[in-house]
Symmetry: C2
Subunit: 122 residues, 2 copies
DNA sequence: ATCATAGTTGAACAATCGTTCAACTATTCA
DNA sequence: TGAATAGTTGAACGATTGTTCAACTATGAT
């Protein structure tokens, strides 16, 4: 039986065929990793993490966030749109004011896990 | 007392001053958010997440990963360098072969948290 | 209706990033 | 010593991305 690997691109031989076969069977569909990476991009920007960490403490409107973080309304709004599309934040309108808050507690858990990892580096 | 906000950039008034002041006092130093974002960038790319998820199952060398994921040795090596600098993976050399494995279990926890979030979207 | 303010949006620009390519180092074997 | 293979590295290219700017919508007040 022919090997199932993409040897076209890989300019080397498989060294541990048993391990590779085993792992290959346990990998998720490629689309899952794209989705995961797309989700994680939301935590991969200083502005967005600040917004998320701020919303962890209290719901806020766009103006509050802009003033708090020293950004323009536009910049905040653009980032909130990304976060909303990833279902990381939700919003409710009250007159002219749109209040944003975290959509669920995965946000806090992921951020805390990251901060923990950073603190372990003496 | 003058307001402590960066009103230069923000083209609006603070709407909820009490909330903003409270949150402002609880925010981390700006550098912490940069570091966190820098760390999270490692999970924000399809190739790197596939590498990390594969290493979750078994340690592997560069050739194994390249063959498994259909990438060149160079591409894998570049990404492993990023992951190593972020202390997400560690390596050990055995002759010509360099074996990579996860540095700690934060990687698995963060990835699982992300996958959980994605599955909640029916 | 008119105005002021909160918020959104699309285009554009600069900066960042992933891959490729070619050249390089390191280790083993003959 | 010299060939073969595993792995690393820096430059360069194309693609992605965050912010700005200007124009826009939405709501409330006069």
């Amino acid at each position: 039986m022919a090997p199932e690997f993409d040897l076209d691109l890989c300019d080397c031989e498989v060294i541990h065929e048993d391990v590779v076969n085993k792992v290959r069977g346990a990998l998720l569909p490629g689309e899952d990793y794209s989705d995961l990476a797309q989700l994680m991009k939301n935590f991969a920007d200083g502005t967005r993490v600040r917004i998320l960490h701020a919303l962890e403490m209290h719901e806020m409107c766009v103006c509050d966030l802009a003033a708090l973080l020293g950004l323009t309304k536009s910049a905040v709004s653009h980032q909130l749109k990304n976060l909303r599309l990833a279902r990381l934040v939700k919003n409710r309108r009250e007159g002219q004011v749109v209040y944003y808050s975290l959509a669920d507690d995965h946000v806090k858990l992921i951020i805390d896990m990251g901060l923990e990892h950073l603190q372990e580096e003496k």
